[in-house]
Amino acid sequence: MSTLPRETPSTPAAQTPKPAVSTPTRRKYWDALRDMLSPERFTVREEQFFLVVAVMIGLASGLSVVCFRVCIELLRIKLLGSGLHPTFPRVVLAPLLTGLVVAALVILFFPRARGSGVNQTKAALYIYDGFIPFSTIIGKFITAALAIGGGAPLGPEDPSLQIGAGIASAVGRRLHMSREKLRLIAPVGAAAGLAAAFNAPLTAMLFVIEEVIGRWTAGILGAVVLAAISSAIVSRWFLGDEPLFRVPLYHLEHVGELAAYAVLGVIGGLASILFIKYIAWLRPRLRRLPAWTHWLQPAVAGLIIGGIGIFYPQIMGAGYTYIDQAMHEQFTWQVLLILGALKIFGTGLSFSSGTPGGLFAPVLFMGAMIGGAVGMVEQHLFPYLAIPVGAYALVGMGTLFAGILRAPMTSVFMMLEVSGNYTIIVPVIISNAIAYVISRSFEPTPVFDMLSRQDGMDLPSLEEERETPLLRVEDAMRPPVGQILSRHMSIHKALEELKGSAQEFFVVGLGGSDWRGVSRSELLATPDSNQPLRSALLQQIPYVHPDFTLDTALRLIGQWPVVPVVHRADFQQLLGVLSLDDIVRAYRGAGLSEDIADEEPSLPNAAI
């Protein structure tokens, strides 16, 4: 075997032909790339990666929802024809046949595609650790597109919310995210889906936070914002910046107009109750029918909708075109009222029959029609107010949104985002507040919570949680009578003072934020009782402030029998003390009636 010749000065390297890229250079780049992609180098924290994934989910949800909306529109054109008013027999056959197909698909292949999608997303969050099967996304896409495209008076927003949530859930699972992050990623996707459907990211974020998650934390808020915005950007890129409906000019000219909107709030509240009660009554009854009827219920609902559609085709589908027309005074008040009433009937029927589809668009439709009708009547009765009917239709949408879906903050911001007009905010707030109060007074359970309970799920009611006051330390603390010792006194003096006290643990302030605790037994065990208290063995204890929630206090109190409650500006100013028993008593007391709660003595501030 010959050996390779050694390179000698007589055989210089220049004589050896060089490769196009030198091997050491290529290897250097390859090593750098591998180094960059190695786990050791890729040390992004999960929170940061979560935000990146939120953007990706936003993009993916946006694309999916755009395709969803396009699909609905194409199906509508193919099934109902290109005119706004479908001709006979399409107007009857399309919802009937699509109802049959949709029922079969839902029963056989996609059982979780039933319903609006909002409750299903909440269920994923609270019951299934953020799990939404991918098949549900496919099923929701197909069945909701068929149903809405075929003329069912339902909306695409709620299904879009679920599609976004489903995409997020799938991505989170594939990326092996932590359980905590998996629970949160579904709402992130939900916000993205809704933002693309509404073309309104702010509204989508607020709705998801207000209705699905129920809390504001910096981590989730950041992800929701990123996802919603990236989704909305995708949606606008493909479908344009144009709003779903053109809003007429409005500005407040006369204070009397506000009273007019208050009337709208009352009527909107009553209409909200009507719709909620109607669904609450109808849906369980239809579900209790024999199982074989579930194959036909969407078709029968479609047939009825089609029959109505012969005379009033405006109630079919989402109805955004007709909302636009209502805002532009294209209907008489009688027709507006009829359309509002028929939409209540049709949407309740379709939804209760199990047809997949959402409630957002129908609620906006009802609000626009009822608001427009009220506006026209008021314009006739009080012509000097001169309020454009379109403004009433706009405010009406927000009113019923607040009254039925019980998302008042989302409703206000939605009106702002859709109209781009800040002068509308005062009428919207007035009308929303009145409708919300009326609706809640007569029907305390929000519609989504009611639906989830009908489905046998007990999901947390975020509205009820919002209405439940948060308990704080000041609600539980008591005066530090017989439980505070001065650091200057001797142990002997302290023991003398404590003879009459039944307490066993005492707090001592040593200055600044230094609070110590000592038990009676420790004091008794001290050999030299003449030494000052501060030199005794005192254990440092945590302190709380009066505005702390009891949840925070509970985490801080640990094993300590008692902790001091101190002033935020002066840590040595003792306002009270708090023990575990005090906390438990406060929670129990929160469930008492107001009368009993009023008997609790108020806690005066105690300064040392």
Partner: protein, 420 residues
Amino acid sequence: MPEGSYWCPSCSKLNATPGVRLVFIFFVFVIIAGFGVTKAYVSYLRGLESSLAHRWFQRGEEAIVKGYPSVAIDDYRNALGYDGADQQYQLRLAEALMKEGRLTEARAYLLTLWSKDPANAELNLDLGRVYSALNKPELAVRSYRAAIDGVWSSDPLQRRTDARMELVQYLLQNGDKARASAELIAIQAESPDDPAVSLKVGNLLLELGENSRAAKSFDAVLKESPKNVDALSGVGQAALGLGDYPKAVRLLSKADDLTGSKPDSPEADKLALARQAYDADPYLRNLTVAQRANRVAAAFDLAMNLLRSCASQQNVTLSPEPAVAPRKSNTALPSKQNGYVTSIVPQAAAPNSLQLLYDSAAQKAPAARAEALRSNPDAMSPTMDFVFEVMRATENTCPPKNLDERALQLIARHEGESQP
């Protein structure tokens, strides 16, 4: 491993295995591919919507041409359903709604368009028409003015003039003669060389009684077309209104000759009136005392005849006895016999204005004869004043029918305007 900075499989944090990284990269590629698929899908829909919008719009245009605005409304709405941002569709829908008389709906669309382009003259013109139909005069005038001052897409001068003309017609309908006159003057200033416009303006000024301004308009036409019948007729009428009867006769004769001197043509009628006024006007210069007295006497006789015929039309009997002034006491006078009231006798009815004028005429008649006027020329003026008073009193109830009465009315109007 430092906590939190590395992925830890056992502590339920994200596991950065190669599989996870591959999934992430795959997800990125799916999104990129998704953009392509979505773009194709959306492009297909946009193409379909665009063609549907165009098709429905064309159907709407055809329906409008055929005179079916209600059908066109549905077609335009369908077009808007596919392209809601198209302003032409919105504008055409608004115009179709206007044609159909659905003004409130039209207004809503126009206002939405106007909010985006407030200087658009066509929009403002449509709004002016809508407001005028909705009987909102101030808003209508405001919109018309905005149209006049706005930006026109084509032929701004002509269209501005047309818009002003339309405003003038509207103001005249609303009885706002002062503003209408101002607008006509503005049109005159802007379009001095347009014969069609000048003719229209001249005729409208004649309607408003602005005879000298009307004459200027017609003169502008005659400068370019000396044989323009309408202009000749117009300027003749203006001269008639100004009391320049010789000029009126001259110009109206020309117009009459140009139309072939047809006896029943408007020009012939105006010419006859001008001639009659010329022959009857006692205020013409170069008349002798006798000629003037004859004319005054003739006018007086005409006024008397007019009084008689007007009374006859109103079924009023003119009594030759002077009317008694009514007493201011109770209307009924009791008749007594043997101290007892036996009957109530109603007082005679109050005489009407015709009777009073007739009485006055009867008193003036002797002094209004030609011979008396010749010997007392100072009585001519009060006699003519009386004649004018009769003309004013009978103008509304018994408008003049024959040529003589019309000529006398013309003279009365002219003299009424020229007197301080």
